[in-house]
Amino acid sequence: MYAYKEYDQLLLNERVEQFRDQTQRFFKGELSEEEFLILRLQNGLYVQRHAPLLRVAVPYGMLNSTQVRKLAHIAKTYDKGYAHISTRQNVQFNWPKMADVPDILAELASVQMHAVQTSGNCIRNTTIDQFAGVAVNEVADPRPYCEIIRQWSTFHPEFAFLPRKFKIAVSAATDEDRAAIRFNDIGLRLVENAAGEIGFNVFVGGGLGRTPIAGSLINEFLPPKHLLSYLEAVLRVYNRYGRRDNKYKARIKILVKALTPDVFRDKVAEEWKHLVNTALDLPDAEVKQMQECFPEPAYEALEDNPAALMSAKKDSSAFSIWYRQNTDNHKKSGYRIVTLSLKPISVAPGDVTTDQLIAIADMADQYSFGEVRTTHNQNVVLADVKQELLYELWEKLKSFDFATANIHTINDIICCPGGDFCALANAKSIPIAEQIQRKFDDYDYVYDIGEISLNISGCMNACSHHHIGNIGVLGVDKKGKEFYQVSLGGDSGFDAAVGKIIGPSFKEEEVANVIETIIKFYIDQRIEGETFLMTYQRIGMAPFKEKVYAKNN
């Protein structure tokens, strides 16, 4: 992964001191709440229900083991012994003291980490396919471009005060979109054209929240050379013309919708004319140099399906199931991508304890070249594990509660902190996740249900992307009581669909039963080989709705 150069480190150290000074000015009363708010929000610091929340950036989800150990140290020293993986691949601490934050940032800076632009109305952390660089079907490794975007967007002088937050996601896989790029402000998909050249599909104006909408394709093939000039053109149009009168209408998706994608594209093209062929051009040499910052690890020449793996699969059905559910094909023979489930029952999805973080770092060193990835599904990935060591690793994963074989199942729930922690939430979300996991505790049944995504958000801000879960659950407040709206048919992949609400919302205690009814009906209706989403797409909402509300009556 990218290792900081001298200037990256210098900038970070200066940033820590700058924020320390801003915090001191706030405590001395020289900065008002409102003035400090804008400054601290540029640095990932929110004031939440119980305590400040500090969001630490994990650029495109990549961590090394030293960084993970530092996160463990911070969790233990400044928090209550755990951290939380967010749906933007970042790490959050829920209990730091405001006055400790400058010291925490200094600790982070010592391992090339920071909280820059993890909140506020600026360009946020770029997210990525968590299998970037190791996926079987990939046009090119997208990480060098993400690092180029990270540097370009870090303290960009023109775009520090946008109408609203701005999120970019990148994917390069040909078979699956694991980064939900069409639900970002800008989604970039690396593609190869007929001439064998690499470029980007540029999608703009996707998003969730109150106005869920899939991004529109405004450039079918953007050569990498023009990546930054084109991004700058999009951002400038947004900075100038995005609405600033109403924060709920301030995201770029509203501007794209209001202008129409065609007019928006023309405006960007007009602006781009002035920016292309300037210093913003990205020379091939720079792309190449950045690619060299992401060297392939020292893979050994290994065969697929070594004897050790085959016999372990034969001897242990539990291992064999875990292998099927929680590991994926790797581009190198003899290796496998392993996903650590952070969703065992009765743990808030995405939470990791200090001990678990240390274990992750140790296992990364021992089995995966010292590297770790976070996923937007709130899990953790060890990307380069030798197949012959999978059984040994699995034994360790079990002892740290990472081996629940539930990846891509109904129990792999994406869930925000919700009303238990978040000041914005209308309703709790973590207890709903637990309720559903308890309902689906028979794993034979869970595997029979097959691949499905279930996302739970505690409010319309949709941090858990409930609109694009195959099943989405949204907490709503009705006269002070918590209710839950259920939607079906969301799809975060290339086809990018926003789920439809099934009907009137449900009481807290009804949610798991409703999900069970929906699942039973799907199993009843599916034809061989269909996933939940495929059955839904074939038969539509009406029969599901009839079933769910008939039962309630």
């Binding site: 210098l10 200066e14 001191e17 023109e158 775009f159 900075n239 100038r240």
Partner: protein
């Protein structure tokens, strides 16, 4: 005389902003340098340029330099209003004035202008800052230098970091 920051120094402000030029102009000495809003400038530019004093124009975030680019050669100063600290439209306006239209006179940030924005403003082409009245200008001067590393190309530095790297 009120003070402003100009080229990182605190100086006397040589300009007077006329919030209501129709009323105020009559009582303003002919040689005073004045700043008027864009609409007033567009309607009265002959009379204004005939004055002895210089004339500057105040832009709002919604004003588009593209629509009056022909006028720029007659304008001696542009002030860009920041109605709120968090309203970033002025940064783009200043870059367009400098980089697209090669405007070389003073570009001044006015309104909710605070020290933590100054370096970003400077990089976008501002060279003068009317700091919000309740803030200390001497302290603000320090903030220009708080971050020494800048990745992007901007109005002052044409090369992005990778072109500057040894």
């Amino acid at each position: 005389m009120p003070k402003i920051i100009k080229n990182r120094e605190i100086i006397d402000d040589q300009w007077t902003t006329l919030a209501e030029p129709e009323q105020e102009l009559e009582t303003t000495p002919e040689s005073t340098n004045i700043i008027v809003n864009l609409a007033y400038w567009l309607e009265n530019k002959e009379a204004l340029t005939a004055r002895k004093g210089k004339v500057g124009v105040l832009l709002l975030g919604s004003d588009e330099p593209e629509t009056f680019q022909e006028e720029l050669k007659h304008i001696d100063l542009i002030a860009v209003d920041f109605p709120k600290f968090g309203d970033g439209r002025g940064y783009s306006i200043s870059r367009i004035l400098r980089e697209r239209f090669n405007f070389t006179h003073e570009i001044r940030a006015v309104g909710d202008v605070l020290r933590d924005q100054l370096r970003f403003m400077e990089r976008c082409g501002f060279d003068a800052y009317a700091l919000r009245a309740d803030k200390d200008m001497n302290e603000a001067l320090a903030s220009f230098a708080s971050l020494s590393v800048e990745y992007q190309s901007d109005v002052l530095e044409k090369r992005p970091i990778y072109a500057r790297r040894p």
